[in-house]
């Protein structure tokens, strides 16, 4: 009989879900948008996404483990998520060095400088995009039309994003057959990933719900109640992608239920403010980063009434 008994605090059984299983689930949820990006933007997409993801993983491994062993580079999956997300919000024509710089900013500046996973205040991928956008605004706004499916190896043809040009057919918007960042274009693909995350319990409907709902209401009010305008605002300009994959980042969103709803609503308000009054297309990025900064405050003021607390 073994007598070296382990002692330790209760509970003595733990759920099988771990940080890395959650992170790899997020990677799985990003497969549909990744596939859509490749279908619509061809080899450019393949290279950009590979480079952004791998460079994020390598940066993280160098900082955290000071090693480049394959197992360390795979890590807990969080760097892969950040790198892939960053790639998905780059324009299809972005040069590969931009993907490297963006991932570097995301991992080194936005994540590790704050103390690594769990400690960062701002969504790393969005910080990466914001820095790129401020440094190379021209390169970051060179949009392209998707490739024709029968001519997949062709060069990209430049064009405008629907939000910039103000027009696109709704069907094309839903399928993603429009200009825009790599992963932001296909509504169907984004929804597939979102549903997966909801079913797995990795995101709370309150954030995308609050975000999209608020944006929809404002779009309705500012566009003479045109439903078409509403659909346009939501499907274009990365709002849906941001609401499903960016605003829901656990580390940088509130932990109370009420807080998550407020956070989503706030994102919607700021996005639409930027779009309507500042007429700048980067509304989603700045809205989410702005709301990230408010998260500690939101958490503090939305602590739920504990069980049995007398209603005052």
């Amino acid at each position: 009989m073994t007598e070296k008994l382990k002692v330790g605090p209760s509970p003595h059984i733990l759920d099988s879900r771990s940080v890395s299983s959650i992170m790899w689930d997020v990677v799985i949820a990003l497969i549909p948008v990744t596939a859509a990006a490749i279908i619509y933007f061809g080899l450019n997409a393949v290279f950009i996404l590979l480079v952004s993801t791998l460079s994020a993983m390598i940066f993280e491994s160098l900082v955290v483990h000071k090693s480049l062993k394959p197992k360390k580079v795979l890590g807990d999956g969080s760097a892969a998520v950040t790198g892939l997300l960053l790639g998905l919000i780059l324009p299809p024509s972005a040069p590969l060095w931009m993907a490297v710089v963006g991932s570097g900013v995301a991992i080194l500046l936005a994540k590790q400088a704050f103390g690594g996973i769990g400690n960062n205040i701002f969504n790393p991928a969005l910080v990466g995009r914001a820095v790129l956008f401020m440094s190379w605004p021209v390169l970051m706004t060179r949009w392209h039309q998707p490739l024709a499916l029968d001519n997949w190896f062709a060069d990209l043809v430049s064009g405008a994003t629907p939000l910039g040009a103000g027009s696109a057919s709704l069907i094309d918007l839903v399928l993603g057959n429009v200009g825009g960042s790599l992963g932001e274009t296909s509504v169907v693909a984004i929804l597939l990933g979102g549903i997966y995350l909801l079913l797995k319990g990795h995101i709370d409907w309150r954030i995308p719900g609050g975000y999209i709902g608020t944006a929809a209401i404002i779009a309705l009010l500012t566009n003479q109640f045109s439903l078409e305008a509403v659909a346009f605002h939501i499907c274009a300009g990365g709002l849906l992608f941001g609401a499903v994959f960016m605003a829901t980042d656990m580390v940088t969103s509130p932990t109370t239920k009420v807080g998550r709803l407020l956070f989503g609503i706030g994102c919607g308000l700021v996005t639409m403010y930027v779009r309507v009054f500042a007429s700048a297309p980067e509304g989603v990025t700045y809205a989410i980063l702005f709301m990230n900064a408010l998260v500690p405050l939101i958490d503090r003021y939305t602590v739920p009434k504990t069980f049995g607390e007398v209603k005052k």
Partner: protein, 426 residues
Amino acid sequence: MKTTFPGGIHPPYNKELTASKAIVEMPLPKRVRLLLQQHIGAPCKPLVKKGDVVTVGQKIADSDAFVSAPIIASVGGEVAAVDAEGIEIVTDPEHSRFTGQAPKYDTPEDIRQIIREAGIVGMGGAAFPTHVKLSPPEGKEVHTLIINGAECEPYLSTDHRVMVEQGEELIEGIKILLRACGAQKAIIGIEKNKPDAIENLSRLCRDEENIRVEAVPVVYPQGGERQLIKSLTGREVPVGGLPLDLGIVVQNVATAVAVHQAVNLGRPLIDRVVTVSGRGVAEPANVRVRLGTPIRDLIEFCGGMRDDAVKVVNGGPMMGKAVASLDDPVTKGTSGILVLTEAEVRIYEERTCIRCARCVDACPMRLMPNYLALYSRKSMYNDAEQIHLFNCIECGCCSFVCPARIPIVHYIQKAKHEINSKRRKK
């Protein structure tokens, strides 16, 4: 079911290891060790010394404090040792045959006195002295007695077996408890995963006007006092208050049976049913065992430990305590002895909180475990109290779900401990 409590989790239950196994009686152990503190409240002082010969059922330690319960000799024999923590008796079968007589009683106060003298405490795990719970303070009326048959902890099946095998005794016990606390009605709350217990007790209660059985949803910690009250009545026990504030008393099923035996048969609390389970024990079983029996003997009785056993737990896997030595004895609150294998108790490295909020969503007390753990780690105890540290029931849901493997309950206990010891110093 109209309402249930917020949060909660669905851990793997593993009850099938023992749920259908009838209670077996373990032969008298060679010696027992009876701890002086087996309950919440003041520890007892020994009434015997080394060399004394005691008979089973004899009171061997007691306390003057109101919140306390005496210690009863669970076997007869010679007292082999008395130390600061416990009394050891070498069993003599001659003195271990129980020959008690039913005591006489009249008033609720008489009943409470019998219950106290029998050494009865809550047998669901918390081990709060039963007579204290049955004594409503001046001006407080008890209207409902809730009998806790939820048994929500994974693995455990003692209450389940008692409800199936000792239903009649349970009902007799409930009738006495009703008289003792003055409640008009009793509700037996049972989790839906014990259909045979629900059926047995419903049948026995058919002609009882003021006792009814209610099935409650299967979600941990349904058997928490506050959670069960919420599920059965829709009401929340106030923060810092007691069920008594709502006119409710909660008693566990095994406690009710012990009350029947003490009051109707004159038999004090000398044994209890313990679920011995886990993948690390050869033959999981529900065992009736004398209090004070060494855990080692009990595990031996169940076929011994397997080679891959790494941890022994006194109680359930969610709230029980890890046993440091197999010489530790079974106490009044021991509902289970779990022998767990490496595969059952995966041990992980603690990581940084990723703010996933799973703990917040799982907390049945609507607390913010992530911040409680954070404040405790940073010794920010005032902030922890601000967000109701002391309303935490230490159910373990938060630690269970945490993907970063943060031992949140451990941090919470540490904070409570630090605050309490600071207060005591003042």
